[in-house]
């Protein structure tokens, strides 16, 4: 059964790599040269939170070893740099290329699993809330460390920018005033559900592997 276990694991690594790269590439497009950086931040914080939590919880329960979620986050984070380099190669200023920070939230997930002696329900509730609330905060640091996207857009005009992305003036605050609070609030609630989904996927995987083991 070792071969099946390892194949499942390698398949998982590939899926993580592809997903994190694609998600970063797509989220990047909404930050470049627009006045919606903080608006898209909410959407992509939630999307990244859910993707991380479901994968990390699945992987964590698959191995049963605290530290696996950090390993998962590290893989995503390193692959994210591929997307970063791809955008840079297309000629975008490095200052625009913001990508999600997964690692610190994954560390918290490991901590919740380890501190509750590998309790699955604690992982879902405490881990889910910790990831959902922390990820927008760690991503906020990313956005605060770069030059203002709108200012950069005015300073470095992008000749091939499509007209619908042409910045006019900042729109932050038009619909809501605290993107981080909104992302953290929605993320904390939704992440628990997705953590539970991760656990359930793990159960299904083990059942599937058990069904295969009859050939041994």
């Amino acid at each position: 059964m070792v071969w099946l276990r390892r194949c499942t694991h390698y398949l998982f690594i590939v899926v993580v790599a592809v997903n994190s790269t694609l998600l970063t590439i797509n989220s990047g497009d909404y930050i470049f040269y627009t006045d919606w950086a903080w608006t898209s931040f909410v959407v992509f914080s939630i999307a990244n939170t859910l993707m991380t939590v479901v994968g990390a919880v699945y992987y964590l329960t698959f191995t049963g070893v605290p530290g696996t979620a950090t390993y998962y986050g590290l893989i995503m984070q390193v692959y994210t740099w591929v997307a970063k380099v791809a955008w840079f190669a297309l000629g975008y200023p490095v200052d625009f290329i913001v990508h999600p920070m997964w690692i610190p939230s994954c560390m918290l997930l490991d901590l919740a699993y380890w501190a509750t002696k590998k309790n699955k329900h604690s992982l879902i509730f405490f881990g889910g809330v910790l990831v959902g609330m922390s990820m927008p905060l760690f991503n906020m640091v990313q956005l605060m460390l770069i030059a203002d996207p709108l200012e950069t857009a005015f300073k470095y005009p992008r000749p091939t920018l499509p007209p619908y992305m042409t910045p006019i003036e900042p729109q932050v605050g038009k619909f809501y005033n605290s993107p981080v609070a909104l992302g953290a609030g929605a993320g904390a609630v939704l992440a628990c559900t997705f953590a539970a989904l991760g656990c359930k996927m793990n159960t299904w995987t083990y059942r599937w592997m058990a069904a295969w083991s009859k050939w041994d």
Partner: protein
């Protein structure tokens, strides 16, 4: 029971329409398919007397693009002005050094004539067609007629956010420490 011949004809008709329908539709509407936004903008505010100080320069040198904005409408408008350049190379090619009228977004009074000037530094070599780009709030962007500009020299690199790179690198380093301490791959 539906007649088989009828069914065959209906399926063929759907098939043919599916293949050629979009092409036919494109032919019919092509007269108004392109440049709607730019034309709309030029009916509000026109870019006239566009002039450029130089057509050949080296990276790091500046050029000034100037002209007048002629408002054709009663209402005051808000807009911002920039460069639009076309070329075969990709990359971020210009850095705006100064704008006149100053600031980012400025008022264009109704029925007025406003002089403008954009000073831009060339960042990347290439052959460009440089236009004035005027973006009017709630209307859209429009372009001036444009001029060919040749830029020589080494490309100038854009600013690098070292703070953000350090933030990511430190966290990635911490993750490596945890991962090698726990070695999750040993249980796979």
């Amino acid at each position: 029971m539906v007649d088989k011949k009828f069914l065959a004809v209906a399926v063929s008709a759907i098939f043919v329409l599916g293949m050629y329908g979009p092409n036919v539709a494109e032919i019919i509407q092509s007269a108004e398919a392109h440049g709607v936004q730019a034309q709309l903008q030029s009916r509000f505010i026109q870019i006239q007397n566009e002039a450029i100080t130089r057509q050949s320069l080296t990276t790091g040198e500046t050029l000034v693009l100037s002209g007048t904005l002629v408002s054709l409408v009663e209402r005051d408008q808000r807009g911002w002005i920039s460069l639009f350049s076309e070329s075969t190379n990709s990359g971020n090619r210009w850095e705006i050094m100064a704008r006149d009228p100053p600031g980012v977004v400025f008022e264009i009074p109704g029925n007025s004539i406003t002089n403008y000037a954009i000073t831009a530094k060339a960042l990347e070599p290439g052959v460009y067609h440089v236009h004035t780009q005027l973006n009017v709030a709630n209307v859209g962007p429009g372009l001036g007629p444009g001029t060919t500009v040749v830029v020589d020299g080494e490309a100038i690199i854009k600013p690098i956010p070292y703070g953000m790179l350090a933030y990511q690198s430190i966290i990635i380093l911490a993750a490596y420490v945890i991962v090698f301490a726990t070695r999750p791959w040993q249980v796979i």
